[in-house]
Structure formats: structure tokens, C-alpha cells
């Protein structure tokens, strides 16, 4: 009884954090009027999409005991690829597919290098962070890639202030979140990701093909990062090789705030999604309070530390 209460509390932890953050911005006079409106939440959801989709990929990687620092660069790279293909007159479906696959390709290379060369993910993806960013600039000839128009541009818009429909990006993120959560929980692939992150030696001993598994994880996560690049393109309406610098840290922070452990073996999609929302709410609320961006950065930095500290208190002495 006591234990089930504890585990319920553990699961509800990030959610309570989200409620606290929302409550904080609902009280001050500057934001009270507008903050709790449907339209503002539509904006917050839309602002969460890119980090949320990135976090779906990153959760898999972090649960498997890895890390990917090249996400921001991957997003820039795929958005440039997408913009160039639209320029070339490709139709929407092939462009979308190509963007997802180009993200997947970077992930595949990451996974192959990590598993094949037996190097730590931190080093490999620190390397591809530079390689992907440089390639994006090279492809784009060091400037933004502009195009006439594309249906993709409409997928992240919140232009109509009275409309109730959420933009396509939010729906895509929601559906993928459900699918990924089910995948991690109920499939052999998902449980093997947990096994790999919890104890790689045990996974090997029990006959799990760890090399192949790692490559699959990074490649699949890469596809998610490619998709995040798609919505980045949709938001900017141009391919920008200098976009999303440092975004990987926001994504990692969302996953960690959501209760995942950087040691691997622990993490949930629901937690990561709430983590992404907490960050978006903080940004949105700070803007409405009129706080300068440096102040937002300080707050988000502190929230990460507090969230992980509270998480450790909640888990008691299990973690040493």
C-alpha cells in the first residue's frame, strides 16, 4: 500500500512540477489575464513540438545508456536538406521522407561509430555535432536557403488567434509520443533498450545483439531528429544552417527533468513530454512577465538542478 503510493508519487512527480510552474505564472497581475487562456496553451504546445519530438528520440538513447549531442546540428542539417529539395521542386511527401531519412542517416552513422569503434557516445556525437553543422553550412553555401512556398509552412502556425484547431505539428508529436511510449513498454525492442541501458554486460550475456541494437536505437532516434528538423523548417519557413544551436541541451534537459537517469535504464516518455512542457511554459511565462532572456536561461538552468535533486530525494536511497 505504502509502496504503491510511493510509486504513484514517483510517476506523478514531473506532473506536479508542471502544475507548480503553471500555477506560478497564473498568479502575478502581469500574466493573470492571458496566461491561462486556451490560445496561450495552443502557443505553448506549438512551441514545445520541436523539443518534444527531439525528446522522444533522446529518451530512447538516454534509457539505453547513451547520449546524443549532435541533435541541434542534425536539425539544422535536415532543415537545409528540406529547403534545398523544395527549391528543386520536389513535392511534399518525398521532401518529408527525405528529411526524416537524412536525420536517420546521421543517427545511423553515430550508432555505427559508437557500436563499431566501441567509443563513448559523448565523444562520437560531440564529433558529429561539428560534422553535421559544418555539412549544413556547406550544403547551404553558408547562407539561409529560401523557397517560394510549401504546404509544410502551415504545420506549425498559430496565426488564427480564435481558431481552436491545434497545428499539425502538435498532433504529430502527440501521436508519436503515444506510439513511442507503447513501444518502450510493450515491445521486445523497447525492453531490450532498457536492458542495454541498465546493464550492457547482462544484455550481452543474455544473447541480445547489443551492437545491432545500438545502431538501431541511434538510427531510429535520428529519424525523430529529422522530423524535428521538419518542424523547424515549418516554423522558420526557410532552411537555416545556423538554427537550433544548443538545442540538444534543451532536449536532454527535458528528458532528465522527466525522470530519466543519465546512467541509463530509467526513463519514461510521459516524463520527457512533461519535461519538455515545463521548459516551454517557463519560456512562455517569462516572456509574458517581460523578463529578459538571460533571466530565463538562469531560471531554466536552476530548474534542471532542482528537478533532478527532487527526483533523487523521491527515489530515496536507491541511487547511491
Amino acid at each position: 500500500m505504502n509502496d504503491s503510493l510511493k510509486s504513484l508519487l514517483a510517476k506523478a512527480g514531473p506532473f506536479l512540477g508542471l502544475l507548480v510552474v503553471i500555477a506560478l505564472f497564473s498568479i502575478p497581475a502581469e500574466t493573470r489575464e492571458f496566461f491561462l487562456t486556451y490560445h496561450n496553451f495552443k502557443t505553448i504546445f506549438t512551441q514545445t513540438v520541436i523539443v518534444a519530438i527531439g525528446a522522444l528520440g533522446m529518451t530512447k538513447i538516454i534509457v539505453s545508456g547513451g547520449i546524443d549531442l549532435s541533435v541541434g546540428s542534425s536539425i539544422a542539417f535536415t532543415s537545409v536538406v528540406g529547403a534545398l529539395l523544395i527549391q528543386q521542386g520536389w513535392s511534399t511527401a518525398p521532401v518529408v521522407l527525405a528529411m526524416i531519412l537524412s536525420g536517420g542517416l546521421i543517427g545511423l552513422l553515430n550508432g555505427a561509430a559508437i557500436a563499431g569503434l566501441r567509443m563513448t557516445p559523448f565523444i562520437i556525437t560531440l564529433g558529429t555535432l561539428g560534422v553535421a553543422r559544418g555539412s549544413a553550412k556547406w550544403l547551404a553555401d553558408n547562407q539561409t536557403v529560401n523557397y517560394e512556398s510549401s504546404p509544410i509552412n502551415a504545420w506549425m502556425t498559430t496565426a488564427d488567434p480564435f481558431g481552436y484547431a491545434l497545428p499539425a505539428g502538435v498532433w504529430v508529436a502527440l501521436v508519436l509520443a503515444v506510439l513511442t511510449a507503447v513501444m518502450l513498454r510493450n515491445t521486445v525492442f523497447g525492453r531490450h533498450i532498457f536492458a542495454l541501458g541498465s546493464n550492457e554486460a547482462t544484455a550481452r550475456l543474455c544473447g541480445i545483439p547489443t551492437t545491432r541494437l545500438k545502431i538501431c536505437i541511434y538510427a531510429l532516434a535520428g529519424c525523430f531528429f529529422g522530423l524535428a528538423g521538419l518542424f523547424q523548417l515549418s516554423r522558420l519557413r526557410q532552411g537555416d544552417p545556423t538554427v537550433a544551436v544548443g538545442l540538444e541541451l534543451d532536449i536532454i534537459a527535458a528528458v532528465i527533468i522527466g525522470g530519466a537517469s543519465l546512467n541509463g535504464g530509467v526513463g519514461t516518455i510521459l516524463g520527457s513530454m512533461i519535461g519538455a512542457l515545463i521548459m516551454a511554459v517557463l519560456r512562455n511565462g517569462s516572456q509574458q512577465m517581460g523578463w529578459p532572456t538571460y533571466f530565463q536561461e538562469i531560471i531554466i538552468g536552476l530548474v534542471i538542478i532542482v528537478a533532478v535533486f527532487v527526483d533523487r530525494l523521491r527515489q530515496g536511497k536507491e541511487k547511491v
Binding site: 510493450n186 521486445v188 536492458a195 541498465s198 546493464n199 554486460a201 550481452r204 543474455c206 544473447g207 535504464g265
Partner: protein, 502 residues
């Protein structure tokens, strides 16, 4: 035996509760100067709690402790050390990148104004090592470059720096070979001669009998008996510990070896395994003895495909010949139990159910899906069969005791199901009750026609359990004979390469 006034350490009626759990309910113990005192009891009997009270990590709820005649109430482990009670934990606590000297002096560096006084440091480290008879140890080598046995010497030397009156050693031989154990005993003997009292905690009763002067048995948090080690029979001690007769420990379940199922021909794997040839039959228990580093674990890992074979051939009867991965071996019906539960055997943060079924997740559903309910039900069945103490099959396995973790690790092989069991140190560091249960299980497996290979550093166990014993020495399987042709002494002679060649 000792008059109360002369006792170095006296415990009287020590009680300690955690919430509703009464971990210690009246422990008394008396330790004379220069006495080696064995503290014996099953896991959960309260040994660790008692040690934590003694070393200042916990405060007792009731009872008195005196050290050298004066009341002794340590505030914390550091305070306990200063007062003269030092503790050597089962898991070594060394900074592996620092040198032996730096490790010995860690936290007690000789310094003048913040600068390390190198000469004084060296002298103190040497003096501590000399006390143990290891003055020739290379103080400049990083601790990680030493063998486990030498690392333990470094750890003990560190404890000796504060000139303790009482040294507590928790399972000091659990990762040592017989030869290293001898060295440790020699060191303990020197400490005894210098008047240092030692509390020696071990599951190995034969060891306790060899090294200890007196013993105290704990059961359910109480002292149930104590006495003179030399005159007490082991049977009596085991009965005190468990309420079970000692002859029940090794079951004699009738089994007859049948056809050969595992055929290893001149197998080698760099760097340690030089050459091993053996055959294991269905319904046979095959023991592998040898010193640590002799290549026993390497042999099983090579058979299982965890290490690549450089030469020779491993043939699992009924499976295709040639190199195999662990996945292939599981498919061939071979199961492997790692000697290292925490680092290799189990995923400590994951549930009992996930650990137990990891080799066959795909079998609990179709098209890559897992039916969690069926998976947990299967695990629960084994939990019930093997009497694993836990809340339910969804509990993270890291929260269980060592013996219960080991039962789950074994259940993985049973559930798979394997027909050839490769068990590396299956009873290391677990309580007598769980040990008896695992011996029983191994006997039943052989009775059911499974082939079992057991590595153990504990010779009475191999002699009590196995049909055939192979002894490894310096990477080679030196001799394979029926159990009746082996004795402990003969195994040691072969393992150390000092047996005559006949």
C-alpha cells in the same frame, strides 16, 4: 575464557530497530586482546547491522558497549576509527588510479603546511605493510594494477594506520582463491600476535575454524551461541545458524551420467586460456577448480561464446559446429550464470520479471510485442517455486538480498530452459539457506538429465556436489578425474602446479 576486565571489547544486550523491524534484539559479544573472533550467521541474521553499530554508522537503541574498559559510543565511522575500531568492508574501497601508498594514506596524509611529506608518508605506509608481512609491495604502482588479494592487503594496511585495537573484517575471502586466503590468514596471524583483536565475518565455516579462536552465532538478531572454535563441531554451529543438520547441505539425488552433450577440444582463448579439453555428459555435475586467474571463467566464457576461441573446438551436441555467439548458445540450450551478479549477471534497476525472462522476451507475445501479464505470471511462478523473498515479480531486483538475486539469476536458465548449465561461482557471497537450496537445485537438475558445470573456489562444495572434477592451472585444464579420486589437498597441489606428473 577471558575475565571481563581483560576484554578489549564487550557488547551487552545491543538492540536496534529500523521502523517496525527489530534488526538486533539482544546481542552480546566479548573480545579478548589478540583474539580472532568469528561472527557467524545467515544473511539477515543481523551481522551487518551489528557491524554498523560497532563501526559507528548506526547508533544502538539499547545496550552497552565498552572498549578497553571505557564506555564506547562512536558518533560516526571516523570517530570509531579514532577510538580504535576499524572496519574492512567486503567490497574494496580503493581509488584504483592512485598509487598503493596514496591509497594507504588516503585521508591521513603526512603533511606539513598542506605539502605532502613524502618521506614520512613512505615510512608510515611501509610500517603498516610490514605489520602484515608485505613490506616488499611496490608502493608506486597504481592500486588498480594489483591483484584483488594485494588490493585487500592495501586496504588492511590503511586500516592499520590508526593503530586499531579492533579490526572488523566482513567476508574478506569471498573473492580470494585458496592460496591468497592463506596469505590473508598469515597476515591475520601477525596481527593477532601484535595484540590486535579481529572480528571475522564469513560464510565459510571451515575458514572460521582455521583462523578463529572463538565464535559467536547470530540468528534473527540475537546471540544464540558462542564458544571456543577449536572444540565446537561444525555441525553444532550450522545447527545453531539454521536449525538444519549439516548433512542436508549437499543433497544426494540419484543421477546417472548419460551421453556426452558438451565436447570441448583443445580450446584456447587469449590471454588466459591456454588449453582445455573436457567432455560433459547429460545428468552429470562437472566441477571446475583452480586458482583465480587460472582460466576457469575464461573457459566457460569461451564455451558460451562471450570470448572468442583462438584455437580448438567447442561442440554442443545437437547444434551446428563452429563459432557461436551467446545468442546462438542460448538457442542451443546452453545457459550461463555469471560469477559477477552486480556487474554482469543482473540488471539491478530492472524488475525481477524482466531479469528472469531477458533471454526470451520474444516468447511472451507475437510480432515483437510483450504480454507483460504473462511475463510477470511466469516470473511469479519461479518466485514461488524457489521461495524468492520479494514483494512481487515487478520489484526491482537490486532491492533483494544476494541469495534471492542469485535464485532469480538461476531461474533465468531454468525458464529458458537450458539443458547445459554453466554456473560460475553460483554460491558466492550468499547465505547458507540459499546455498543449500541451490545445491538441492543443482542435484535435481542432474537428476532430470541436465548437464551442469560448476566453477567454485570453495573446495568442500565441489567435493560435496560434483561427479567429476577438473582442475585448472595456469590456463590449462591439468587433470579431470571422478570425484572419488580427489581430495582437497590433491586439488590444491594440482591447482598450484605442484602435483607430481604421473
Amino acid at each position: 575464557m577471558t575475565s571481563p576486565a581483560a576484554a578489549t571489547l564487550r557488547l551487552d544486550g545491543i538492540r536496534k530497530a529500523f521502523g517496525a523491524t527489530q534488526a538486533l534484539r539482544g546481542v552480546s559479544l566479548e573480545l579478548a586482546p589478540g583474539e580472532v573472533h568469528a561472527l557467524i550467521g545467515e544473511n539477515g541474521a543481523g551481522k551487518s547491522t551489528l557491524m554498523k553499530v560497532l563501526s559507528g554508522a548506526h547508533a544502538a537503541d539499547a545496550g552497552t558497549m565498552t572498549l578497553g574498559g571505557a564506555p564506547y559510543t562512536p558518533l560516526n565511522p571516523h570517530d570509531a576509527r579514532l577510538k580504535g575500531v576499524a572496519m574492512i568492508y567486503q567490497e574494496l574501497n580503493l581509488a584504483l588510479h592512485l598509487s598503493a601508498e596514496e591509497n594507504i594514506l588516503l585521508g591521513a596524509e603526512s603533511a606539513r603546511g598542506g605539502w605532502v611529506d613524502r618521506r614520512a608518508s613512505r615510512e608510515r605506509a611501509r610500517a603498516a605493510l610490514a605489520q602484515l608481512g608485505h613490506e616488499s609491495l611496490d608502493l608506486d604502482r597504481p592500486a588498480g594494477a594489483f591483484s584483488i588479494a594485494a588490493q585487500q592487503v592495501i586496504e588492511i594496511a590503511r586500516a592499520l594506520l590508526t593503530k586499531p585495537k579492533v579490526l572488523i573484517m566482513d567476508e574478506p575471502t569471498s573473492s580470494l582463491t585458496q592460496a591468497d586466503t592463506e596469505l590473508l590468514f598469515a597476515a591475520i596471524g601477525r596481527l593477532r600476535a601484535q595484540g590486535v583483536s579481529v572480528i571475522y565475518i564469513s560464510h565459510f565455516l571451515e575458514e572460521c575454524r582455521r583462523i578463529a579462536d572463538r565464535f559467536t552465532v547470530l540468528k534473527d538478531g540475537e546471540t544464540v551461541g558462542s564458544g571456543d572454535m577449536k572444540t565446537a563441531g561444525l555441525d553444532r554451529i550450522v545447527t545453531l545458524m539454521t536449525g538444519r543438520e549439516v548433512k542436508d547441505l549437499y543433497p544426494r539425488i540419484p543421477h546417472t551420467p548419460g551421453a556426452v552433450v558438451l565436447d570441448v577440444k583443445a580450446c584456447a582463448s587469449a590471454p588466459r586460456l591456454k588449453r582445455a579439453t573436457l567432455q560433459v555428459r547429460a545428468g552429470e555435475i562437472f566441477g571446475l577448480a583452480g586458482l583465480i586467474g587460472a582460466g576457469r571463467t575464461d573457459l566457460l566464457r569461451t564455451v558460451f561464446g562471450l570470448d572468442a576461441a583462438d584455437a580448438g573446438e567447442v561442440c554442443v551436441v545437437g547444434a551446428p559446429a563452429g563459432a557461436a555467439t551467446p545468442r546462438d548458445r542460448w538457442d542451443h540450450g546452453v545457459g550461463f550464470l555469471s560469477e559477477n551478479r552486480k556487474e554482469e549477471g543482473l540488471m539491478l534497476s530492472q524488475s525481477i520479471a524482466d531479469n528472469l525472462t531477458l533471454t526470451k522476451h520474444g516468447a511472451f507475445g507475437r510480432f515483437g510485442w510483450i504480454d507483460g501479464g504473462r511475463q510477470r505470471a511466469t516470473a511469479q511462478r519461479w518466485v514461488d517455486t524457489l521461495r524468492v523473498k520479494c514483494r512481487n515479480a515487478a520489484q526491482p531486483i537490486g532491492q533483494l538480498s544476494g541469495g534471492n538475486q542469485q535464485k532469480v539469476a538461476l531461474a533465468r536458465l531454468l525458464e529458458h530452459p537450458a539443458r547445459i548449465f554453466l554456473l560460475d561461482e553460483p554460491t558466492r557471497g550468499i547465505d547458507v539457506g540459499s546455498k543449500a537450496q541451490i545445491y538441492q537445485l543443482i542435484g535435481e537438475l542432474a537428476g532430470a538429465g541436465k548437464a551442469v558445470v560448476v566453477i567454485s573456489s570453495y573446495l568442500p562444495e565441489l567435493l560435496g556436489l560434483c561427479d567429476t572434477i577438473g582442475v585448472m592451472c595456469r590456463g590449462e585444464l591439468a587433470a579431470v578425474r571422478p570425484r572419488a579420486e580427489w581430495s582437497e589437498a590433491e586439488i590444491m597441489r594440482t591447482a598450484t602446479g605442484s602435483a607430481g606428473t604421473t
